[in-house]
């Protein structure tokens, strides 16, 4: 029968409330106030899972987010990926299981990896599994890798959310230092937010006995927290782990609310001043077998005893190199844990030895024994004598590492303090400061003083006055660290773990050094040390120490690696918040969406988040059939489409014409009133950015159009030019894309349709020629009509206010019935423009082409002294490098449509491509497929047969001109 480890009294738990949970399918009970880790320990579950690579037994080693040994995951509907059991509040009905073992942690088939350990050192995958082909081994190596499984579905219960919160002072950590800083801040009246990962404030005070202002530590915490709660200007976020620090004091925090219906919340916190009071993490000690279940951090053992009334073992061996481990002795002995000995690596006692406890100085543990739980340890005395000590608990204290992840993410400097053997922050004149143990202040008095100073400094930085009242506390043990990085015993380094989570041993570090990796960043990546979920919090400094000893380098010179966010696992769900389902991405609609959907249109995004109809299938039609029908209607009678999403801008000012002359490659300043001109806009690199038609509406006023997808980009491009290059120009630009929306009627019968709508605009060929604009009334609505054509047919783009579009559309459909008017979608527009050889963004305009490539040298003004991109085009062309040029392709099999994006290669051979198919469609009006391509020296190769290579076959096609329909443009100018 398993023994229970719950102490009969004490602890910050509610013994009246029992909580039921399962672990690996077995039922257990815990108490309200337990974490999953404490509940497992209370039930004497020392073996929690198996390690990453070697599948070695793993147990709980710590009481916080630095946990290097034990991970769990939730079962079934609550599956969540890796979870740190010490951070999980125990809840009724929790179903928890081990990770990385099968069928159980007690008997794990993966344990065979321990026999293969000599073949699996650091970087083994660069050396093994290479022949005959890595691809043969990759599937099962990938299957073996990883820890917890990725959840297959969203959680059954609870919602995710992201929230924003602004404050004057953000305190991260509600331990002694953080609470002190927050209290001082509260008195100032500034907006204070204090965030702590635990469900209760107090930090290390929850796990130890201390006195502050004549109160037990936990009572002082309770009192201080109550005062903060009562203050209107203070907000306390519990269960909130700050996982990232971004620029300008933007921090991300993950909160696990205790309210039902909420799963996880991500806070985006912005603070004028940031105080990092995240404490320090106790260091592991490195010796063979230091990963065995039952090996724990000394402060964590104390924490479990004091906070959770759990006794993790019966007979403990304390192994230390500093005095703080002594603070654990009273708690352990009061809990009935026999202290077998305190093994101290320092040769001389630094403080008064605890009476009645055996102290062994100048000694070290050389290895532990036991299989799935520690049973004893072998000690090497200062004189070389070896002694085996029986124990079921080894409590380690290798020193302290200030938790500087957020400090490091904020790009603040860190230095090594030789006196304390810690990497500590270097204060800079920034809106960020550390406090307490995070600032290297080990000990309660130092933490309280540090918190008070940090709070006062932050208040002063906010422009307010503050007094730093420092709470009095009980005397604390001095730190007195004597650094000890690892055992010197030869031949056993392969079982001496420097990174317990990632199974990285001291031997791996030495291997990396032998293979020439000197930088700590390279050692990290080669060995994966510090790359686990715990980010190596308990072992990174040991690695630096090992490198320092092996290479005779200085700790400061070696330094630490850059800490990355997140500092602990955070779900994608909380980052995503409410953005899921239909609002995963933004979407935009024109007023016609409802009409389109009611007519069965297939809708999808067609640039800049606009949802547009792709085509309007009638009953039983395939897409191909629908598009053919729609295209035929436009070529033979009349079609109508919603062209509203095209970018539309009003441009006005004394320098409006100069602006357009500068933006476009051709001239606009000589444009007559109410006339339009097609223009191409280049980037600074002389490549095509966008195209569109601009009309002159007045002496200093133009109406500019852009492509749908590029509207915002063009606006930014123009604003950047005006603000940076021509701030003295008097010209302004307003986006009218959503103000004026249009129904574009296109086809031979277009003029009749517009006339049938009723208009005061003279539609006669001579009165309203191609590329002009008119204003007036259409169908009783104020309108602007422009004669432009994207389809190559006679077209009237009728622009009305957005509120009038539906009415106009209905009138157009009604007026067009006699002519068989057909609504058309984006797919049909694509076919029609390919037939005409008109360029399109994302196809022929792919970011690599200039107007000359597309046969549009005529649009490059020879008279303008300058325009954006002119010089770049000239420089590029001067090099004389062959260019890919726009051509048409007529496939040998006229029915064959080429996959868009297919490469053209010499002879169809598997060689470097000489071009790419940019568009290919079936053309009903041409009775064959029509394709466009960018082909090297294309214009000189008309009539030549070229080859298109696809995975299935090689196609032949003849190079032609790019326009397959009405090359003279007669129809659209009619």
């Amino acid at each position: 029968m398993k023994r229970g480890n719950r102490l009969p009294d004490g602890g910050l738990i509610d013994r009246e409330r029992q909580i039921n949970f399962t672990f690996n399918g077995r039922s257990f009970t815990g108490l309200a106030g337990d974490s999953v880790a404490s509940a497992l320990l209370a039930n004497d579950r020392m073996l929690i899972g198996r390690s990453f690579k070697y599948h070695r037994p793993r147990g709980i080693m710590s009481a916080g987010y630095e946990e290097p040994g034990a991970l769990v995951e939730f079962e079934a509907g609550s599956a969540s990926g890796n979870e740190i059991p010490a951070l999980l509040p125990l809840r009724e009905g929790m179903r928890v299981k081990s990770v990385n073992c099968w069928p159980s942690p007690e008997f794990d088939l993966g344990g065979v990896n321990q026999l293969l350990a000599p073949l699996l050192p650091a970087g083994f995958y660069y050396k093994t599994f290479m022949r005959p082909d890595w691809a043969l081994f990759e599937p099962w190596v990938r299957r073996a890798a990883g820890l917890a499984a990725v959840p297959r579905a969203a959680p059954e219960e609870g919602a995710y959310e992201t929230r924003n919160l602004n404050c004057d002072i953000l305190v991260v950590g509600a331990g002694a230092a953080g609470l002190t800083a927050a209290s001082i801040g509260a008195a100032s009246g500034l907006r204070i937010v204090i965030a702590d990962m635990d469900r209760q404030p107090g930090g290390a005070l929850l796990g130890c006995e201390a006195w502050i202002e004549e109160l037990p530590g936990t009572d002082w915490v309770r009192k201080t927290a109550a005062e903060l709660k009562a203050a209107d200007n203070v907000r306390l976020l519990r269960n909130t782990l700050v996982w990232a620090c971004r620029e300008q004091n933007l921090l991300m925090a993950r909160q696990n609310p205790e309210r039902s219906g909420e799963r996880e919340r991500n806070w985006r916190l912005r603070a004028r001043q940031l105080i990092i009071a995240t404490g320090a993490v106790e260091r592991m000690m490195v010796f063979p077998g230091n990963d065995r279940p039952g090996v724990m951090l000394a402060s964590s053992v104390r924490n479990y005893v004091h906070r959770y009334a759990v006794r993790p073992g019966r007979r403990a061996l304390i192994f230390t190199c500093n005095d703080t481990a002594n603070e654990a002795v009273p708690a352990l002995t009061n809990a009935g844990i026999e202290i077998a000995a305190i093994v101290d690596t320092r040769p001389e006692p630094q403080s008064v030895p605890t009476s009645g406890i055996r102290h062994i100085h100048g000694a070290a543990i050389t290895r532990t024994s036991g299989r799935k739980r520690v049973r004893g340890a072998l000690i090497r005395h200062a004189n070389g004598r070896m002694e085996q000590i029986e124990c079921d608990l080894v409590a380690l204290s290798g020193g302290w590492n200030p938790s500087l992840q957020l400090w490091s993410q904020a790009r603040q400097p860190i230095t090594y303090n030789h006196r304390t053997s810690m990497f500590v922050p270097v204060a800079k004149a920034a809106a960020i400061r550390c406090a307490g143990a995070a600032d290297g202040c080990i000990g309660l008095a130092a933490a309280l003083r540090s918190g008070a100073m940090a709070g006062a400094a932050a208040i002063k930085a906010c422009g307010c006055r503050a007094s730093a009242a420092i709470p009095e506390c009980s005397p604390q043990t001095r730190y007195n660290a004597g650094p000890w990085w690892h055992d010197e015993a030869p031949g056993r380094a392969q079982n001496a773990f420097v990174d317990v989570m990632n199974d990285v041993t001291l031997a791996d570090i030495h291997l990396a050094l032998r293979e020439g990796y000197r930088s700590i960043e390279h050692v990290k990546r080669y060995t994966t040390a510090g790359m686990g979920l715990d980010q190596g919090r308990t072992g990174n400094v040991n690695i630096v120490g090992a490198i320092a000893e092996a290479t005779a380098a200085d700790m400061e010179t070696i330094g630490v690696t850059t800490f990355r966010s997140p500092v602990a696992p955070v779900s994608f769900g909380s980052i995503q918040g409410t953005r899921e389902g239909s609002v995963l991405l933004p979407y935009r609609h024109t007023p016609l969406t409802e009409w389109n959907v009611s007519r069965g249109a297939v809708m999808y995004e067609a640039g800049a988040r606009w949802r547009r109809p792709g085509y309007f299938p009638q009953s039983g039609e395939s897409m191909h059939q629908a598009v053919n029908r729609e295209a035929g209607a436009v070529r033979n009678s009349v079609g109508v489409y919603d062209g509203s999403p095209l970018g539309t801008f009003a441009v006005k000012g004394r320098d409006a014409a100069r602006l357009l002359d500068m933006l476009y490659t051709n001239r606009f300043s000589d444009l007559p009133l109410h006339q339009g001109r097609y223009g191409i806009m280049l980037t600074d690199d002389g490549l095509i950015l966008d195209d569109g038609v601009s009309f002159r509406l007045g002496e200093c006023e133009f109406l500019m159009s852009t492509s749908t997808a590029n509207a915002a980009r063009v606006y930014r491009h123009v604003q950047k030019f005006l603000h940076l290059e021509r701030p003295d120009w008097q010209v302004w630009m307003t986006d009218l894309t959503c103000q004026w929306m249009n129904a574009t009627i296109c086809g031979p019968a277009a003029r009749e349709i517009v006339a049938a709508l009723g208009t005061d605009i003279d539609l006669g060929r001579g009165k309203f020629p191609f590329m002009t604009i008119r204003e007036g009334m259409v169908a009783g609505l104020p309108a602007r009509i422009s004669r432009v054509s994207f389809t190559g047919e006679l077209s009237f783009e009728i622009n009305v206010r957005a509120r009038d579009l539906c009415q106009l559309w209905e009138r157009v459909i009604d007026a067009g019935k006699a002519y068989g008017i057909t609504p058309i979608g984006s797919e049909t527009n694509h076919v029609l423009r390919v037939e005409k050889g008109f360029l399109s963004l994302g196809h022929e305009v792919d970011g690599t082409t200039d107007p000359y490539d597309l046969g549009m040298g005529w649009i490059m003004s020879k008279k303008k002294s300058d325009f954006l991109g002119k010089r770049s085009v000239s420089l590029r062309r001067r090099r004389g490098v062959p260019r890919r040029e726009l051509v048409g392709l007529a496939t040998a099999d006229p029915a064959q449509v080429i996959p868009e994006g297919a490469p053209l290669t010499p002879g169809g051979r598997r060689e470097k491509s000489e071009g790419v198919v940019t568009a290919s469609v079936w053309s009903e009006c041409c009775g064959r497929s029509v394709s466009l391509a960018l082909l090297q020296d294309g214009r000189a190769r008309h009539g030549e047969t070229v080859h298109i290579r696809t995975p299935e076959e090689v196609m032949e096609a003849r190079v032609t001109g790019s326009c397959a329909w009405d090359p003279q443009g007669t129809r659209m100018r009619s």
């Binding site: 907000r235 006005k652 302004w732 206010r801 509120r803």
Partner: protein, 167 residues
């Protein structure tokens, strides 16, 4: 969560860019003076004007003011002022209720507590550009009409659970 998110009927909206003196004269025709500070509004009767950028204002007037637009936005409009009707560009919504600040904390990173009473400022709401106007009863948002369906969809999903101050 107690909040109300409702549409506001269309107003006459004019986007004004250009010379400040020309803008002053234009606003005076509506009985308005330009706001003294950026990201703020000035009111006169049923009309308001928002200073929302460098040489950039939005004027809001009752719907019937649109009848005047052809004369003030046509060819006779001042050459140093670009005045464009944008009544259809912007959709207007109102947020009120006891939990309005909590709702806003989900939608935007704007520091609500720092908003003055006469605030009119562009910000980002649910990832999209929006003009937020503080009112005694809550807030008004103006965002591009094309995003209306998306915004309404998103607001309907916002959590019904409001965190307490200490949670």
């Amino acid at each position: 969560m107690i909040f109300e998110f409702s549409t506001v009927p269309r107003f006459t909206l004019l986007d004004i860019k250009g010379d400040i003196r020309a803008a002053e004269r234009f606003a005076a025709a509506f009985g308005l003076t330009l706001p003294a500070t950026t990201n703020s509004r000035a009111s006169a009767g049923d009309s308001e004007i928002y200073h929302i950028g460098d040489s950039h204002w939005i004027l809001r007037a009752p719907p019937q003011a649109e009848d005047q637009l052809p004369s003030i936005c046509g060819p006779e409009s001042p050459p140093d002022l670009l005045v464009q009707p944008v009544s259809d560009t912007w959709a207007i919504y109102r947020l009120s209720g006891t939990d309005k600040d909590g709702v806003l904390s989900v939608c935007t990173s704007l520091d609500i507590n720092a908003l003055p009473e006469n605030a009119a400022t562009f910000t980002e709401i649910l990832g999209e550009k929006a003009l937020i106007i503080s009112r005694p009863e809550g807030y008004e948002f103006l965002f591009e009409n094309s995003y209306s369906a998306f915004m309404e969809d998103h607001f309907s999903r916002i959590s019904n659970h409001m965190p307490t101050r200490q949670d």
